[in-house]
Structures are given as structure tokens and as C-alpha cells.
């Protein structure tokens, strides 16, 4: 009964929903098998939509490639995209719509932690196999959310990579930790500070800065006075990151800044007073999408770029976002191919048996007790100012 | 003080208003009022408080909207004219109750009255006002709020002079003034009339008004209760009747 009504409503809302899914329906005409419907919750507009746009390109590209090659077991892939604008309320509504009305078999996203935290408990009872696009640790919980698998590294993996780089490569013992006054910033500031102390380092200064603050000079001076040898910076606000770098450069300080990938975006570059202020900024990155000392990407990534050609615009986004989106659709194909069906239980079993899937973004592996699939060793640090065609060079020391 | 003027019948009509209905919001104060002012004459508009005298002046000068009726001034239809257009045409309304701009100087208050004058003419017009009220010239740099009530009233009338009226509508110029000042203000009005400016005077001091006016209208409760072609020949009892709603004040000779 529910399904019937869902169908009828869909015809009423045909234009609306069709509009959102149209790009991926092109080759689905002749298919006699029902499509594999994948719900994709993503902030495509609104604040913090840059990652979502990057992921979306990868997902669209993979869908196109796979559908042209015949889809998954003869079934075309249909992506049901919902723009959540980074608003948890909209995300929950959209999540319920795709699972209970669109009856999607897989779920990707949301791309923003506040949204993921809200949608996961809501969608959990529908037992839809889902790939998480958020780094918050608590989202992976095998007992409560058995159908959720994380494709990205977790927040802990990020902070660990950053802190290892500070302690082992830069050999700095005293750090200042800075976060922005948002949900992500406050949470990560605490995590990063306590982990750093646990690892034997010394946190000499912490500060939360309003992401719209006009100036960070006072904070930089205080950090410098406190004797910080390096700064851990956890903010996804490009404006704030640029202001911190400008303040650091302005007072003539050159302590390295290590932290969030948002410090390496083109937006930050545009906001810098001097190009040199981008020096000594090291951001979380991935071996798979980093240039080595010789300026070469790993072979698998090079093949991917050849496949992509000019079909996906890379100059204004980050390669790993595209790669990650591309991998998601392929992980779903792999699960259906190896599990034998798109039944949730079969998919779950298939993913849990996955030891090392050779993705573009990384080699994923899950087990019945571990749904964090990204290998810690592949999380590396990049030099922020080395951005070229969506990728960065490895930071010095690798 | 009667001033010799041409016979009323020979003068051409300057202002003709017919069937004016106006009020504030839903409240109609005027319910179909006719009034005429001829060139060079002085007309007194009398009536008890709340009769609608000020409302009528505001409706004529375009400060409040009319819901019915027409106004012609100097041959042109000014029914829908803005107050600015009225002032430019020479239809000038001096509000009751000392409406000066307190924080501005006396001179600035007069300058604002010259808003619609050609820039080159402003100084001359203001000088005219200073001639009529020399005490304003002495206080030209004083803030208007520092003036006494009587001086503020002079300033308001002076603003009327600066606007170079063809018809000057004065709304209770005597309110709050000492008798000496009342005479001063009315003398200025009389002098203007002598120069050919028509005067429409709303005044509580009936005798003073009758002293100046050629003709009289009495407004009561939103309608014209009395129209007299001659101020001099008007029986006080008739005014009293119109004023007090039909009953004369017994046994009183004004």
C-alpha cells in the first residue's frame, strides 16, 4: 500500500523529482530490469558545499561510465540526488524521502557532519547499506548502525596524521591548537588537543575563533608568545584559514600550520595577502592523490586521470573528492557483484568480507568488527601551496 | 483696522473649492464644504473648536487627501496637487501651533521656507521676512527652539512671507500670543493684503478676525454654517448662533 501511494505521489511530483534525477536516466530507457537506486544526500548549495560538488562529480562520472558499460548486472544505476544545503533538518527530510518514498537500495552522504549525525539514526531502521561521507568518529557503530560503512578516514585518523607529522617529522613538541567556533571546530579542537597531550606533546595555546572574525592577529601573537612551535588548525572555513595565514605572515612568524584540508583550497589562495603566506602550511591529504618528489601521482591514479580525460573538471576542486565519489559507486557495484544481490544483508556480508579493494582514493577494507575502511597509512600530509589540477605534493619528510 | 480695497464683486476669484470631503483615516471631518477666496481680499474662517477649520486648510493645501470635491487655484485645477505644487502656485498654508524646526537656526528655518524659490532669489525673500519681523533678523543665528512662543509664531508667519504667497492661509496665528503680538502679526497680514496678497484667516479671536476680513465663513461640525459677504455688517448674534449650535449666549454683548 505504501509503495502504491509513493508511486502515485511521484507522478504528481514527477517534474520535481525527475528534474533532480534526470542526468543519470539517459541510458536507462531500454533496461527491462529495475534500476539500482542510490540515494545521494549532499550539500550542493549553501555554506560548505565545495566538497559536495567535488564528490558529486565523481559519483556522476562513475555512474555514467558504469551505465555505458551496461550497469550493474544489467541494471542501470540511478542516483537520486537531494541537495541538503548543510541543514540537518532538510537532510533528515531528504533522507526519509529517499529511503521511504524513493525506496533507494543504497545511501551515500550526507557530506556534512551535523547532517550525518542527524540522518543516520533516522535511516538506520530501514537497513539501507550506506557509505558515510563524514569524518565524525561516533558515526561508525557496528551495534547501532550495522549497515553503515565509512569510506573516508575518521576524524581521529586525520588528527593522528597531523599530530604524527608535527611530532615525528617537524619534531615540534609545543603546539597551539586552533579551531573555529562552529560545531566541527569546537569538537575537533578538543579531540586534537587531548590526543596531542596523550602522544606526549605539549599544548601551549588553544583558541576558538569566530569563523567571521575579521582578524586573527591577536591569536597569532598569543600563540607565538606562548612558545608554540607549530599550529594545529582545524577549521573548514576558508575565510578564517586565510585570515590566520595572513595574521601569521603579518607578524612575521613562520611556525608551520598543520591541519584541515580546507587550508589548501583555491579560495584560501585567493584570500592571501601574499603568496608566500601559504608556505609551511601542511594539510591532511592522501598518498593516492599526492605528487611524489618527482611530481608523479601513483600509477593507479594516473590511469584514472586518463580515463577521466576532460570529462570532469578538476581545476577548481580536489582530486580526492572526485576519486572518493567515483569509488563509492564502484564499491556498490562490487558489493552487488560479489554478494550476488542488492539485498541489504548480502551487501553487508560482501563489504564485511572486503579486505583490500583497490579504489582510486585508497585501498578499502572492512570486516564484521570494523566499518572504518580507510587505511591510516594512506593518510599523509600535503603541502598546501603545491595545488595543481586538484592534487597536492607530499609534505617534506615523506 | 479696515483697509480700503476694491469692491468685492469686481475682484476675480482666486480660490474655488467645491464639495470638499476630507478627514483623518476613517473619520470624516469635512462633509462637503464650499469656499471661495477672491484676489486681494481677506476672508475670515471662524467656527468652534473641532469644527474642521484646520482640516479645511490642510485639504486645500494638499497636506491631507480629499475623498471628494475639487479645488481650483488661479484658474488651475489643484485638487490633486502636492503641497509642493500648491506652494509653487502661491497657495501657502501657515500651520497652527508654532511648527518650527527646533534644532535649526532661525535663518535655516526661513531658508527651508525658500526651498521652492530660485536659489538666487532666496536671500531677497528672507530679507523681506526680516523686514516684517526685525526681531527675527536679530536672532537669525539662534536655534528656533530657544525662541519664546510668540517669537516662534512670528517665525512661522515669516516662513509664510518667504514662500511669496498669492493666497496666505493663516491658521490661528494668535494662539498663545500676547495681545500686542497678536496685533503685530495681524498687521503684517494686513500689510500683505495691501500688496495684493489674499488672506484666508482662521482665528479664535473673532473680533480681531472681523477687523481684518472682508468676508466671513463660519464652519460648524464639518459644514458651512454661515457665509457673510460683509464682515462689518455681520451681527455678533449670528456668529454666536453658528458657534454654539443654534443658541445664542443670553444677555451678553460682546
Amino acid at each position: 500500500m505504501v509503495q502504491e501511494h509513493g508511486w502515485r505521489r511521484r507522478s504528481v511530483l514527477g517534474a520535481a523529482i525527475g528534474g533532480a534525477t534526470l542526468p543519470f536516466l539517459g541510458t536507462a530507457r531500454a533496461a527491462d530490469k529495475p534500476p539500482v537506486k542510490i540515494g545521494w544526500l549532499v550539500a550542493l548549495t549553501g555554506a560548505n558545499s565545495s566538497p559536495g560538488i567535488g564528490f558529486n562529480r565523481g559519483i556522476a562520472f562513475a555512474t555514467q561510465v558504469l551505465n555505458e558499460a551496461g550497469g550493474i548486472g544489467g541494471r542501470q544505476i540511478e542516483i537520486v540526488t537531494r541537495d541538503t544545503q548543510g541543514d540537518p533538518t532538510k537532510a533528515v527530510n531528504a533522507a526519509l524521502e529517499v529511503v521511504s518514498q524513493q525506496r533507494v537500495e543504497f545511501l551515500l552522504g550526507p557530506t556534512n557532519s551535523g547532517e550525518s549525525l542527524a540522518t543516520e539514526p533516522v535511516t538506520a531502521r530501514y537497513k539501507v547499506p550506506s557509505l558515510l561521507y563524514s569524518v565524525v568518529d561516533s558515526l561508525v557503530d557496528i551495534r547501532r548502525y550495522p549497515y553503515y560503512f565509512r569510506q573516508l578516514p575518521s576524524n581521529t585518523q586525520w588528527t593522528e596524521a597531523a599530530q604524527n607529522y608535527v611530532l615525528k617529522v617537524l619534531k615540534a613538541q609545543k603546539v597551539g591548537v586552533i579551531g573555529d567556533a562552529t560545531g566541527y571546530g569546537t569538537a575537533t579542537l578538543q579531540l586534537a588537543a587531548s590526543e596531542f597531550k596523550k602522544a606526549g606533546g605539549d599544548v601551549v595555546y588553544t583558541a576558538l575563533i569566530d569563523p567571521n572574525a575579521t582578524d586573527a592577529t591577536a591569536e597569532m601573537q598569543k600563540a607565538k608568545q606562548a612558545g608554540a612551535e607549530a599550529l594545529l588548525v582545524w577549521s573548514d572555513s576558508a575565510g578564517l584559514n586565510a585570515r590566520i595565514m595572513n595574521a601569521r605572515g603579518g607578524i612575521g612568524w613562520d611556525a608551520p600550520m598543520i591541519g584541515h584540508p580546507a587550508m589548501g583550497t583555491g579560495i584560501v589562495k585567493n584570500l592571501l595577502k601574499q603568496p608566500s603566506y601559504w608556505g609551511k602550511v601542511y594539510i591532511v591529504g592522501y598518498r593516492s592523490t599526492s605528487f611524489d618528489a618527482g611530481g608523479q601521482l601513483p600509477a593507479r591514479t594516473q590511469d584514472f586521470l586518463k580515463l577521466v580525460g576532460d570529462k570532469v573538471k578538476l581545476s577548481d576542486t580536489t582530486l580526492w573528492w572526485v576519486a572518493c565519489g567515483y569509488d563509492s559507486v564502484n564499491l556498490i557495484k562490487w558489493a552487488i557483484d560479489h554478494g550476488g544481490s542488492s539485498e541489504p544483508a548480502a551487501v553487508k556480508r560482501a563489504w564485511e568480507s572486503l579486505t583490500s579493494y583497490p579504489g582510486i582514493f585508497g585501498d578499502y577494507g572492512y570486516s564484521a568488527t570494523n566499518h572504518n575502511g580507510y587505511p591510516t597509512a594512506e593518510v599523509v600530509m600535503n603541502a598546501a601551496d603545491s595545488f595543481k589540477n586538484g592534487a597536492y605534493s607530499l609534505a617534506p619528510g615523506y | 483696522m479696515p483697509i480700503s480695497a476694491p469692491e468685492p464683486a469686481k475682484r476675480e476669484t482666486l480660490l474655488v473649492a467645491r464639495g470638499i470631503v476630507a478627514g483623518y483615516g476613517k473619520l470624516s471631518v469635512l462633509e462637503g464644504v464650499d469656499i471661495e477666496v477672491r484676489a486681494g481680499e481677506a476672508v475670515a474662517l471662524l467656527g468652534p473648536n473641532g469644527a474642521g477649520k484646520s482640516t479645511l486648510l490642510s485639504a486645500l493645501s494638499g497636506i491631507i487627501a480629499k475623498s471628494a470635491g475639487s479645488v481650483h487655484f488661479a484658474g488651475a485645477d489643484v485638487t490633486r496637487a502636492t503641497p509642493q505644487q500648491a506652494v509653487r502656485a502661491g497657495l501657502v498654508h501657515v500651520l497652527e501651533g508654532h511648527h518650527v524646526f527646533g534644532p535649526l537656526s532661525v535663518h535655516d528655518n526661513l531658508l527651508l521656507a525658500a526651498f521652492n524659490a530660485p536659489p538666487g532669489e532666496r536671500a531677497a525673500r528672507i530679507e523681506e521676512a526680516y523686514e516684517a519681523f526685525p526681531e527675527m533678523a536679530e536672532r537669525r543665528h539662534l536655534r528656533a527652539s530657544a525662541l519664546s512662543g510668540g517669537q516662534q509664531q512670528m517665525l512661522v508667519v515669516a516662513q509664510g512671507i518667504v514662500r511669496r504667497p498669492r493666497l496666505l492661509m493663516l491658521d490661528e496665528p494668535s494662539a498663545g500670543l500676547s495681545p500686542v503680538l497678536v496685533d503685530r502679526v495681524l498687521a503684517v497680514a494686513a500689510a500683505m493684503r495691501a500688496r495684493g496678497v489674499s488672506i484666508l484667516l482662521v482665528e479664535q479671536l473673532v473680533e480681531k478676525a472681523l477687523g481684518l476680513a472682508d468676508r466671513v465663513y463660519v464652519l460648524a461640525r464639518g459644514r458651512m454654517a454661515l457665509v457673510s459677504e460683509s464682515a462689518a455688517g455681520l451681527a455678533p448674534a449670528a456668529i454666536e448662533r453658528a458657534y454654539l449650535g443654534g443658541e445664542a449666549l443670553a444677555g451678553v454683548q460682546p
Binding site: H5, G114, L117, G183 | E203, E207
Partner: protein, 584 residues
């Protein structure tokens, strides 16, 4: 419109809720969730309607209330292990506190300032949630309480929301239809009238803020569960604006309109999914369109269709003999109301300069004088709107010089206004019932809960108001909107409202202005009956012959001083009075 009983609203609400409770049988989880969300929002909007719609306070930032409740419920359930239903109940406590915190600035700030302050409140709540990480989980947030059966499922939770919706609607309906609702509209449309009939404005506003805060907070508790998890990100400015627009689009001062508005605005972004990026823009557009084209909202449009045409016989003759019923009991003879040597200046101008005046029960005292002579100032001083700079005001033996307007109303001093201060959007009889404010026995809480005393009050006040309307000849208009009355009828309405106060003294400020000759006759008859029944009447009036005709005593003011005082005959013969009037 019949006198209200407990049954009618209750039956309507229960029937509506039962009807809505069948939705999960037809709809999938998604639509049930949307319905749940709309229901949750309605709990908040119902209370906000009292603040914005009835009291006219521009509280823009009620998303903050939602956050307060969401965190209260979640923290208590997650950290203190409280039962979710108990945690939800606790939301009322934090809601009341938050409501009062928002309300206190609301007592003093004007529209734009208050709107800014409430926006600030919404920002502060989320900032505090962010900063107080140990309690709220900071940016990571915390899980919302999950209810046990039968409210655990999507449909079950929806039913819980419906039950609370019904309760909220019931509370708000009672408040809106009772004494507080009328007083709130008065605060919005004619605050001086509210003061004059003795409404304790500050206390009333705070009560309403407390109630709306409690409802907003409970809505927040439900919202948290509907969302399953809360972070500060969830409480966006858009949400605050949505609530606010829901009230306006629905039509302020009504209940059905905002309810429809809430439903529409919750559905809108779901139906227009591709427009998601534009949703905030669409809301804003809607707001502008509503404000510019239909400030009365949906409810006003419905109202226009429903209102009965006005009776043909516009002004039935007054029935002064009904006045004793309107006054219920004979006025208390509290002694004379007197001004002694009272002075008052405005910015250096002496409006009153040592005035003495006595108003005795059972007499009519006329107060005349030219414009600006201080008549209305004297009336405002008697009724308490202006403080005196020197001199005394006495009622019998008691000194009431420093007594507030409201307290003077309680002492039996009623007044009307030069420009009638009526509640245009309320019905005629509601305007009069406002006057009987003090004679209602039920407290704010009793009204909200619809306890028997509330209905007894309503019946008694309605009967009394009908008598007052009959007295002034407006009984046929009882259920018409007051702003449909002509200006002169509004003057009589004000007199009826003054009578409903059961006063000892009535101060009439130019009651004959704008009245026809026949209406003035009616007014005279009404005033005569007031005198006969022992009321003291102060008549401030320009219409001199009318004053002379019906007054026992006349005082003439000129430039703030008493020019003459005596019987009408004495005054008529007084030479200076004639001078003052005719300037001779």
C-alpha cells in the same frame, strides 16, 4: 456567536486530531515525518501566535526557543537518564524561563529593537550550546531522546505530537478567546485603552511569553526526537523566519490561519524540492507579498467571506434603562474625585497651572475651554496617564496622586479617548468585554486550562457587555468587527466599554465630536442616566451648548488656569468666558 462552553472547542480539537491521526494509514514514513514536523512546529507557532499575532510583539527569533527545548529534552534524557516523557515535561520549565528572558526586554523595547533582541536571543542560544560542550556535546551534539512504545514508531511518535498539538491548541484557544486574548489585542492595537481599563500589561505580557516559551520549548523537545540527533547547526535563522512567517501568512490574531500557514510552509520545500536553493528566497518573497498585499493573512481572507452583512438599521436607539444591568450593582460612593492645585508642564510650557476641580458622584461636570487650555491634560491627569508636577489628586480621603492608571481603573475611574481607541479587528462585544477585565475571576492559568470559572466569567461578562451595548444602542452590532463601525458609533462603543468597567466615575473626552444632532441627543440621555445612577461624569467638550445643557457644574479653562467655575447659568453670564471664546 453564542457564549462559549468547554465543549465546542474541545470537540472541534479532538475531532481534528482524530482525523489527522488516520494519516499514517495512508502515507509512507516520509510524509508522516513531514506531518510530524508540521505538528511539532505548530506547538511552537501556536504559542508564538499569542506573542506575534495577539500581542503584536515582533518576536522573530523563536528558533531559539526550539533550541532551548531540544537541548533540555536531550540533555535530561541522555545525561540524567530521565524518561523521555518526563524530560519533555521538564521542557516547560526551561521554556518558561527562556520565555521570560525574552519577554523582559519586550516590556520596554519598541518593535524593531525587540525584533533585533529576539534575533540576538536565537544566536546566543546556539552559541551557548556550542560553547557549553560538556553539557550539550558542543558541535558534535547529542542524541535526542527516543520514546518507548507506543510512541517509538514513526506513526506512534506522530500520534504523540498530535496529542500535544491538541493540548497546545486547547490552551491557546482558551487564552485567545478569553479575557487575556482580548487584553492582548488591546495591548497591540490600543495599548492606552488596555491600560485605561486596568490591564496589568507587563504581567500579562510576561504570562504570554512564559506560555509561548513553554510551548516553544516542548516543540523543541519533540523536534529533537523527530530529528533523532541535534547539533547547533539545526537551529538556523531560516527556521526562525519560517515560524514568524507562518503566523503572518496565516493571519495574526487567529488560530486557524497560522495553523494552515505552518502546514503550508512545512510542505512547501518538500513539494518544490528542486527549488531547495531558493527556499529561503521564496520564504522572504512570501513575507513581502503577505505584508504588502494581505497584511491580514489567510484568516482575513476567510473572514471576509464569512462575515455577515451589517444590520440595515444601523443605529438602534439607545436604551439607557439597560445601564443598571450593565453596571451590575450600584456604583460605590467612594467620595469625590478631586484635583487640588495641580500643575503640569510639557517642555517648559505650562499646560496646567494650579488647577483645582471636584467631581462628585451623581453629577455631571463640564470642562470647556479653547484649544490648548489644558482640558485633555486635566483628564489625562485624573485618569493617571500624566504625572503631576505639583498638587494632589484625591479620591474621597485617599491620595491617589501617584497611583498608576491601572490602579485608578480598579478604583472605578473610567475614561474614553478623543480619538476612539478601539480593537478594530476584534468584535464589538469583545471590545466591551475588555472593559470588564477586572471583573473576571479566573486567573491566566485557569483560563488556559479552561477551568469552569473561566466559562462562568465569560458568560457573566458577555451578559454585562450586552447590557452595556444595549445601553448605547449597539446591541445589534455585537458580533461585527469593531472597525466596521462608523466613527460616531465607535464613540458610543467606548462609552459602553467604560460602563463595562462598572465605574464610579466616567471621564469623557470630547464624546460629541463628529456626532450628528440625533446622536448628541442620545449621548445626552446616556449621560443623564449615568448621573441618575450615581456616577460622577467629567465631560470635556467643545460643544458648549451641549455642556451647558446637561452639566451640573462647569469649569472653564484658559491657558492652563481656571477661568471660571460654576453652574451653567453662571458661566453663560460670565463675561470673560465669552471673551475667551469670541476674543472680544
Amino acid at each position: 456567536m453564542k457564549a462559549p462552553t468547554a465543549l465546542r472547542p474541545a470537540a472541534t480539537i479532538i475531532a481534528g486530531a482524530l482525523l489527522l491521526a488516520t494519516l499514517p494509514l495512508f502515507l509512507n514514513d516520509y510524509w508522516v515525518h513531514i506531518a510530524t514536523l508540521a505538528g511539532t512546529y505548530w506547538v511552537l507557532v501556536s504559542g508564538l501566535d499569542l506573542v506575534v499575532g495577539y500581542a503584536g510583539m515582533l518576536a522573530v527569533g523563536y528558533g531559539g526557543m526550539l533550541a532551548v527545548g531540544a537541548y533540555t529534552a536531550s540533555v535530561l534524557a541522555a545525561k540524567a537518564g530521565l524518561d523521555p516523557l518526563l524530560a519533555l515535561a521538564c521542557c516547560t520549565v526551561t521554556g518558561v524561563i527562556a520565555g521570560i528572558i525574552v519577554g523582559i526586554p519586550g516590556l520596554r523595547l519598541t518593535s524593531f529593537y525587540f525584533a533585533m533582541a529576539t534575533l540576538g536571543f536565537a544566536i546566543i542560544v546556539t552559541q551557548v550550546a556550542l560553547a557549553w560542550g560538556s553539557l550539550t556535546g558542543g558541535g558534535i551534539g547529542l542524541a535526542a531522546p527516543a520514546y518507548a512504545d507506543p510512541f517509538a514508531s514513526t506513526g506512534g511518535f506522530y500520534c504523540l505530537v498530535l496529542i500535544i498539538d491538541a493540548l497546545a491548541t486547547w490552551l491557546v484557544w482558551n487564552i485567545a478567546s478569553g479575557n487575556p486574548g482580548r487584553a492582548l489585542i488591546a495591548v497591540r492595537d490600543a495599548d492606552v485603552a488596555a491600560e485605561a481599563v486596568g490591564v496589568p500589561i507587563a504581567r500579562l505580557k510576561l504570562s504570554v511569553f512564559a506560555l509561548s516559551g513553554a510551548l516553544g520549548s516542548v516543540a523543541g523537545g519533540l523536534f529533537a526526537t523527530a530529528q533523532s540527533y541535534i547539533t547547533p547547526d539545526a537551529f538556523t535563522l531560516d527556521l526562525s523566519v519560517l515560524f514568524f512567517i507562518a503566523v503572518l501568512i496565516g493571519g495574526r490574531g487567529r488560530i486557524v490561519g497560522p495553523m494552515i500557514g505552518t502546514g503550508l510552509l512545512t510542505l512547501l520545500p518538500e513539494i518544490a524540492a528542486p527549488l531547495v536553493a531558493w527556499s529561503a528566497f521564496v520564504y522572504a518573497c512570501l513575507l513581502l507579498v503577505v505584508v504588502l498585499l494581505a497584511p491580514g493573512g489567510i484568516a482575513e481572507l476567510l473572514e471576509r467571506l464569512r462575515r455577515a452583512p451589517p444590520p440595515i438599521d444601523r443605529m438602534a436607539g439607545p436604551e439607557p434603562e439597560a445601564m443598571s444591568a450593565a453596571l451590575v450593582s450600584a456604583p460605590r460612593a467612594a467620595g469625590q474625585l478631586a484635583l487640588a492645585e495641580v500643575s503640569r508642564a510639557f517642555g517648559g510650557v505650562r499646560a496646567l497651572d494650579g488647577i483645582s476641580l471636584t467631581l462628585a458622584p451623581g453629577t455631571v461636570h463640564g470642562l470647556i475651554g479653547p484649544n490648548g487650555s489644558g482640558k485633555t491634560t486635566a483628564l489625562n491627569i485624573l485618569s493617571g496617564f500624566y504625572a503631576v508636577h505639583s498638587g494632589r489628586i484625591r479620591l474621597g480621603e485617599a491620595d491617589i496622586t501617584r497611583t498608576s492608571v491601572q490602579a485608578r481603573a480598579a478604583l472605578g475611574i473610567a475614561r474614553t479617548f478623543q480619538t476612539p481607541r478601539i480593537l478594530g479587528e476584534a468584535s464589538v462585544i469583545e471590545n466591551v468585554m475588555l472593559g470588564a477585565w477586572r471583573h473576571a475571576a479566573a486567573s491566566f492559568g485557569e483560563v488556559a486550562l479552561g477551568l469552569p470559572r473561566f466559562y462562568r466569567d465569560e458568560r457573566a461578562l458577555r451578559a454585562q457587555a450586552m447590557a452595556a451595548l444595549a445601553t448605547v444602542g449597539l446591541a445589534a452590532w455585537a458580533n461585527a468587527r469593531a472597525d466596521r463601525l462608523q466613527h460616531s458609533e465607535q464613540r458610543f462603543l467606548e462609552i459602553a466599554r467604560a460602563l463595562a468597567m462598572r465605574p464610579g466615575f466616567v471621564l469623557l473626552d470630547e464624546p460629541a465630536a463628529g456626532l450628528s444632532a440625533a446622536e448628541i441627543e442620545n449621548l445626552g440621555a446616556i449621560i443623564a442616566e449615568m448621573r441618575r445612577l450615581g456616577l460622577g461624569v467629567l465631560l470635556v467638550e467643545h460643544h458648549a451648548d451641549f455642556v451647558f445643557r446637561i452639566s451640573d457644574q462647569v469649569t472653564v479653562l484658559a491657558t492652563g488656569r481656571v477661568l471660571a467655575a460654576g453652574t451653567p447659568a453662571e458661566i453663560r453670564a460670565h463675561r470673560e468666558v465669552v471673551h475667551a471664546y469670541l476674543g472680544a
